[in-house]
């Protein structure tokens, strides 16, 4: 479904600030796969997501979605295939628009917009049902401005919005990191429920080793712009958090052994 060929991403090339955020990434993601992505700060996880959503164009390399070259397709055109939920609950929606207006924006994702009314009785019915299915008590509040809701409620709406359109790929960038633990776990439950319902292909970045192993079917570990580990199947099932953390630390240290050697002598 998604093919990344030799993706390189360099920020500020040719300056002292030059940073190679992604180095020769090759990755094939099958339809229906649910991938969790872990790695330290600046490891390249978010850059990878941004390259897939079209927020960034890679410096070198090629991206195929459904065998179609989308390497330089702008994000608004790629929205037909890819939907996303941001880390910041404020980033994924318009606070001054109502719940139903935000959802109406999502339902038109990837379709041609015209002068017809954005909200029809049919839409309202559809949104009402979608809201009722997540049991947040929001189904009677279609006309409430989104800015009046809590962070968790907004993130739930963002999730609902991400599955309203036709897109089959869902990209989650630490979408529960800004929430308290209880809200976070209920949002994760909702995430799994919606993904299973819609049979989506998912990339989820997380800081939690626990979530990374518990959710999804495959785990990627990033370090220094490279995929250092790729676990799936039985190998992944046997792994527990402590072991993963140990491997994680080991991998990071490997990268630095050169420096340490110099410093120690």
């Amino acid at each position: 479904m998604i093919h990344l060929h030799n993706i390189n991403m360099v920020f500020y090339p040719g300056t002292v600030l030059e940073k190679k955020a992604l180095k020769n990434i090759n990755l094939t993601i099958e339809k229906g796969e649910f991938i969790t992505v872990i790695g330290g700060n600046g490891a390249g996880k978010s850059t990878l997501l941004r390259v897939i959503t079209g927020d960034l164009f890679p410096t070198r390399g090629k991206i195929l979605i459904n065998n179609q070259d989308v390497t330089t397709t702008p994000p608004e055109k790629r929205a037909r295939f890819v939907s996303q939920v941001f880390q910041d609950p404020r980033a994924g929606a318009c606070p001054n628009l109502t719940i139903e207006e935000n959802m109406a924006l999502a339902v038109m994702r990837g379709k041609k917009r015209g002068l017809g009314m954005a909200l029809t009785p049919f839409h309202r019915q559809q949104f009402q049902e979608a809201l009722a299915s997540v049991k947040l008590g929001l189904e009677g509040r279609l006309g409430t401005p989104l800015g009046m809701l809590s962070g968790g409620q907004r993130q739930a709406i963002s999730l609902l919005m991400s599955v309203l359109g036709p897109s089959e790929i869902l990209v989650l960038d630490e979408h529960t990191a800004a929430l308290d633990p209880k809200t976070s776990s209920s949002i994760l439950k909702l995430t799994e429920q919606l993904i299973a319902e819609k049979k989506l292909t998912v990339l989820m970045v997380t800081h939690s080793m626990h979530q990374a192993l518990l959710m999804g079917s495959r785990t990627l570990m990033f370090n220094e712009g490279k995929i250092v580990l790729d676990f799936q199947g039985n190998e992944r099932k046997k792994l527990n958090e402590e072991e993963l953390l140990k491997i994680f630390k080991q991998k990071i240290n490997e990268e630095y052994t050169g420096d340490e050697f110099i410093l120690n002598n």
Partner: protein, 285 residues
């Protein structure tokens, strides 16, 4: 204030109410502080006045003005979207260039419309009833537009461009369309101004943006921003209120204002309207 002055204020309030609607579209809906307005208002007047002197149908002359305004808006959008010029600078550049364009169109610095037939010719009740209908129609059309699929996409573009892109909205196209419509409304106001006041002058655009902004802000004192129809009506209401206040201020001899103080007073009012909410916030804190 006598009846004549009151009706005069009402008329100007309605005319500049259309400017306020255009400014609402750029400043509030798109969150794009567009200064093109100071050029597109006289542009509308210049095109209309020139066409009228050529014996053009007055309604066609208005249509011509609106097309001119639309193109002016596209120009600013192009400088900003395509070449990444700062929005304020893009507007200032278009506005400055329009000063020359307007002189070229008119061939002189002002045109007096005396004999020419206008849309208000032969209406005994004066321009007020027809102006009111035009303003009402524009409000209803904008209300309908802002609730359409494209209109909603435009509102999202102004409020959260990153989210708009993620929802498949081509934000740059929205800026082109929004600024085009906004400036064609302002040019329409200029055209109606020329036809009702009987002249067009290249310097008549100075301060248009500030007056439009004053109207939008004054209207917002009374209504919440989330109800579109109310917000649109408030733009026109704010514009009329502004004219009445100005007329009142200039009528009270004790204040000692003269006609040339208008721009200072307007700028002062806008600054005050923007400072007051901050002061109130500080008092609460």
């Amino acid at each position: 204030m006598n009846m004549l002055q009151f009706l005069g204020s009402l008329e100007l309030g309605l005319l500049y109410g259309i400017v306020a609607l255009g400014v609402y579209l750029s400043f509030r809906v798109l969150d794009f502080p567009d200064l093109t307005v100071d050029g597109s208002f006289p542009l509308g007047a210049a095109i209309t006045a020139t066409l009228l002197t050529l014996n053009c149908d007055p309604w066609l002359a208005i249509a011509g003005a609106m097309i001119g305004g639309f193109i002016a808006g596209l120009m600013t959008a192009w400088l900003n979207v395509r070449w990444k010029l700062l929005h304020l600078l893009a507007g200032i550049l278009t506005m400055t260039s329009l000063y020359s364009v307007n002189l070229r169109i008119m061939g002189q610095s002002n045109i007096a419309l005396v004999e020419e037939k206008t849309i208000f010719t032969g209406i005994a009740a004066g321009p007020l009833p027809l102006l009111s209908i035009i303003v009402l129609v524009i409000i209803l059309l904008l209300w309908r537009f802002l609730r359409s699929e494209i209109g909603l996409a435009m509102r999202a573009t102004g409020e959260n461009p990153k989210m708009a892109l993620a929802q498949g909205i081509c934000t740059s196209r929205m800026i082109f369309l929004g600024l085009g419509i906004s400036n064609s409304l302002v040019a329409l106001a200029g055209a109606l101004f020329a036809q009702s006041q009987g002249f067009s002058d290249t310097t008549m655009g100075i301060g248009t943006i500030v007056i439009g902004l004053a109207s939008v802000i004054m209207g917002e004192v009374f209504v919440s921003r989330s109800r579109i129809l109310l917000a649109l009506a408030a733009c026109v209401g704010g514009s009329i209120l502004y004219r009445l206040l100005i007329s009142f201020a200039f009528n009270v001899k004790e204040f000692g204002f003269q006609a040339s103080d208008l721009n200072f007073v307007t700028a002062f009012l806008v600054a005050l309207a923007m400072i007051l909410p901050r002061l109130r916030k500080r008092a609460d804190a």
